[in-house]
Amino acid sequence: MYDQGNGTEPDLIRLAKQGDVKAFSRLYSEIYVELYKFALYTTRHTQDAEDAVSETVMTAWEKLGQLRKEESFRNWMFTILNNQCRKILRKRGREPVLEQPEEKGIGRSEAPVTEPDHAQRYEVREAFYALEEEERMILAFSIFAGYQSDEIGKMLECSPATVRSRKSRALGKLRRLLENAV
């Protein structure tokens, strides 16, 4: 028999749909770190990331009834989050590439400067932020949401082959940025 007992995702979703906040929170607790990382790497601002995840949670709670039975909570959350991030980016409009993202926002969560490999970490993130929006999205989906190319393709409306080539291009670009920085 499948272990579909209490505490498994279908059960928690059912409870959450009935208004059980705790069940919802348990579902959320499984993925919130990845949600935040995804948002941070896509929006490039801690405050924006915080807003995006926060909005996603509220939207998800309100719209939970729309979650179809065969859909996973995780995928659904990432779909909403993706839209939130895009919306934030659209709102912000065209912005200069490579601003100092970490200095902005209130909820600064960066590790202290004394951390030994902080410099390197900072560079990596900075390089990442220098990528274009779509490139960031593709990489964030792959790295933080664990999506395969076909799934990313569905989200971004392009073929898996396109996703693959753009992903590879983005990673190459990232490497070059890092090499130049050194």
Partner: protein, 701 residues
């Protein structure tokens, strides 16, 4: 000579270049992997802001729920005020509505309810019975257009989602009736769950939704053996001898996930979902495709099950029904909206490897959709000879199967032309393996589970929870919160539809601000439980289908998730006990209602199992109920999962017969054969005496 050398040289150079390129590509792939790994590692120490920690989110949601309740109350007050104005103007039609309203004997608390009825009835069209014909597709092209339309619609919605984030929804005890599958649907008259095996021993069958319509489950018995779905295997456990013994194991095709079995007359049907990965044309556009398969075994000698046939159809398994020797399998198939028009297999479902013909595909009402319910049938004694197959276009929600019709329902949210959520109903008539589309309609509100929809004497009765959104700004509400401009109110409706799905009788605006938690139609009377803080159990007289009447309303704390007829004049409720604030559950609760006078229903006895925060009765098949033996059982969850058996005494109330702590969390089933009760949980089966519930045997599979 020179020329030749030159050519050779060029060839060599080319080969070298190719080689270099290949090496380069491999290198890139390698590097890509490393870069990804590095990115992942570098992100490991990112600290999530406190405000996003699960416990903080939980607090915020709790707060929001409280606020919403307040606002809803305000909202009702202002609607009522507006409605009074309307009444003052005096439109003759209201007389009728208020008349109806008086009959439902509202309790003192809702002095505003009759006015509310008047107001909302005038502003909302009654349950639409639009073009009720179920049209088949003209050709695959038409279907393709529908799939594309659905895609565009959802693209729009998901972009627009944020804007309306706070408007709608299923929240706080709210519309628990989302589009869950038939799996959580349910009904069962339950009183006749016992059958007799060939050996003459009495045994219990699965608690089914509709008497006379068989259902598959994870555990089945034919009165001799127990068939158990466990992981990727089916175990056959013999009960004929002094001790249980494992007779055989059946494995499904590799990659298949067994869902349910069904056993009858020496035949075992094993249903599983198989996922196939297709590489696509150029190796990059691969995709997953799911099939629902049924393997049919001859188990007349259960030690040696012999495969007698296999059938398959597109989509993931939804539910199966058995009637008069025919098996009906329902699966849900998703069209790939990214597919090219000529890639028909990506958006047209298959049965036995063949595309379903366009004239066997029924189209949806909204001119768009991306999923189907695929229904096919076969005879138990001649499985490979498919008798019929149809696909009903549109999303699948709760399925209800009466003895003559299959009803496929879908919850519709966010329709631009309606301020309320709705349920579309599609009706497919069946009999002797044949399927025929019979009609479709849409009603306001959504179903809680399959007990909220019931066919009786050709009429279909539905009880729904209606969420009405109103976009007009309301100053009164803005005082509470600045972020919300849209408001919603919940109420409940009951409809009676004739065989053409035309509404012939209805009651609207019942139990404002509450939603249906359980329902049970019993012939000419219907019962349903709504819940917000207290649990009114409504009884409805449906003897005149065109004029349904609320007979009574019993208010008690807590709610029932599941209602089961328990013999003459009694109705059993299994649910939760809730404290007076309506927010904390205090344990699982059993209620026995005296329904001998439906206009004056009483809670005769109640029993609270403390420390339990939920039960498994939402899947009615996990309930064991045998009214003649006066026993019922189910699982409840607290610190651990426990299985309970109770009996009921008219004077002394509920009597615990068995309380068994289970080793693991999971699906559990109880059944009896002859004098023994079998408890199947995880990979163990335990046997108890039916008389006294003493454990006599167990087996680990």
């Amino acid at each position: 000579m020179e020329e030749k050398k030159r050519e050779e040289y060029i060839e060599e150079k080319k080969a070298e270049q190719n080689l270099q390129q290949n090496i380069q590509e491999e290198k890139t792939e390698d590097q890509d992997e490393k870069t990804e790994k590095m990115l992942r590692e570098q992100a490991e120490d990112i600290v999530v802001p406190d405000s996003l920690l699960p416990e903080e989110i939980e607090k915020r949601l709790m707060e929001q729920e409280k606020r919403k309740k307040k606002k809803l109350r305000r909202r009702i007050a202002s609607v009522a005020a507006a409605a009074c104005l309307c009444l003052a103007v005096g439109i003759p039609g209201y007389m009728l509505i208020t008349e109806q309203d008086r009959e439902r004997s509202p309790a003192g608390a809702e002095e505003t309810s009759s006015e509310t009825t008047a107001a909302s009835s005038s502003e909302t069209a009654s349950a639409a019975s639009q073009d009720s014909l179920l049209a088949t597709a003209e050709d695959y092209d038409e279907i393709y257009e529908y799939v594309q339309a659905e895609k565009e619609y959802w693209d729009d919605v998901s972009y627009g989602m944020e804007e309306s984030a706070s408007d709608s929804g299923s929240n706080a005890g709210g519309s628990s009736a989302s589009s869950m599958s038939a799996y959580d649907s349910a009904a069962a008259t339950g009183t006749k769950s016992a059958s007799e095996s060939a050996s003459g021993e009495e045994y219990s069958d699965t608690n089914v939704r509709e008497e006379g319509v068989g259902e598959g489950d994870i555990v089945k018995t034919d009165g001799k053996n127990i068939y158990i779905v466990s992981g990727e295997r089916i175990h056959i456990v013999g009960t004929g001898n002094a001790q249980m013994e494992q007779l055989a194991q059946i494995e499904v095709e590799e990659g298949g996930e067994p869902s349910e079995v069904y056993a009858q007359d020496g035949i075992l049907v094993v249903v599983y979902t198989k996922t196939e990965y297709n590489d696509g044309e150029n190796g990059y556009d691969g995709f997953y495709r799911q099939y629902t398969c049924a393997d049919i075994y001859d188990v007349s000698s259960p030690e040696n099950p012999e495969k007698a046939g296999e059938v398959s159809q597109s989509g993931y398994f939804n539910t199966m029904r058995i009637r008069d020797g025919y098996v009906y399998i329902l699966s849900g198939f998703y069209a790939d909206s990214a597919a090219a028009r000529d890639d028909q297999a990506a958006y047209i479902p298959e049965v036995q490897g063949k595309l379903i013909a366009a004239d066997s595909i029924y189209m949806p009402q909204n001119r768009m959709g991306n999923s189907y319910t695929v229904i096919s049938s076969f005879a138990l004694d001649d499985p490979e000879e498919r008798t019929d197959s149809k696909a009903v276009f549109g999303n699948t929600g709760i399925c209800y199967v009466s003895t003559e019709n299959i009803y496929i329902t879908e919850s519709v949210y966010e329709e631009s032309d309606s301020s309320v959520n709705q349920t579309s109903v599609r009706k497919v008539a069946y009999g002797d393996g044949k399927l025929e589309g019979a009609g479709q309609t849409k009603v306001d509100g959504i179903l809680n589970d399959s007990f909220s929809i019931d066919e009786y004497k050709g009429n279909l009765r539905l009880v729904t929870t209606v969420t009405r959104r109103s976009a007009q700004p309301d100053r009164d509400i803005e005082l509470f919160s600045s972020e919300q401009t849209e408001e919603q109110t919940e109420s409940n409706s009951l409809y009676v539809l004739d065989e053409n799905l035309k509404v012939i009788g209805e009651i609207r605006d019942l139990a404002e601000d509450e939603s249906v938690y359980s329902a049970r139609f019993m012939g000419d009377t219907g019962y349903f439980v709504t819940f917000r803080q207290i649990d009114p159990l409504f009884s409805v007289d449906l003897s005149d289908p065109e004029n349904p009447k609320i007979l009574g309303e019993l208010k008690i704390p807590g709610f029932s998730d599941y209602l089961h007829p328990y013999g003459e004049g009694l109705l059993l409720g299994i649910g939760m006990d809730v404290d007076e604030s309506g927010t904390t559950t205090e344990g699982a609760k059993l209620s026995m209602f005296d329904i001998s006078d439906p206009s004056d229903v009483k809670e005769k006895h109640k029993y609270v199992i403390e420390g339990m925060y939920s039960t498994d009765v939402y899947d009615y098949r996990s309930v064991f109920a045998d009214v003649e033996k006066n026993l019922f059982g189910f699982s409840a969850y607290g610190d651990s999962q426990k299985y309970y058996i109770f009996s009921y005494d008219k004077n002394d109330g509920f009597q615990p017969e068995l309380e068994r702590t289970l080793g693991t969390y999971g699906n559990t089933r109880g059944l009896y054969i002859g004098e023994l009760f079998y408890l199947v949980s995880g990979n163990t089966v335990e046997a108890y005496t039916l008389d006294g519930f003493e454990k006599v045997d167990d087996i680990v599979l």
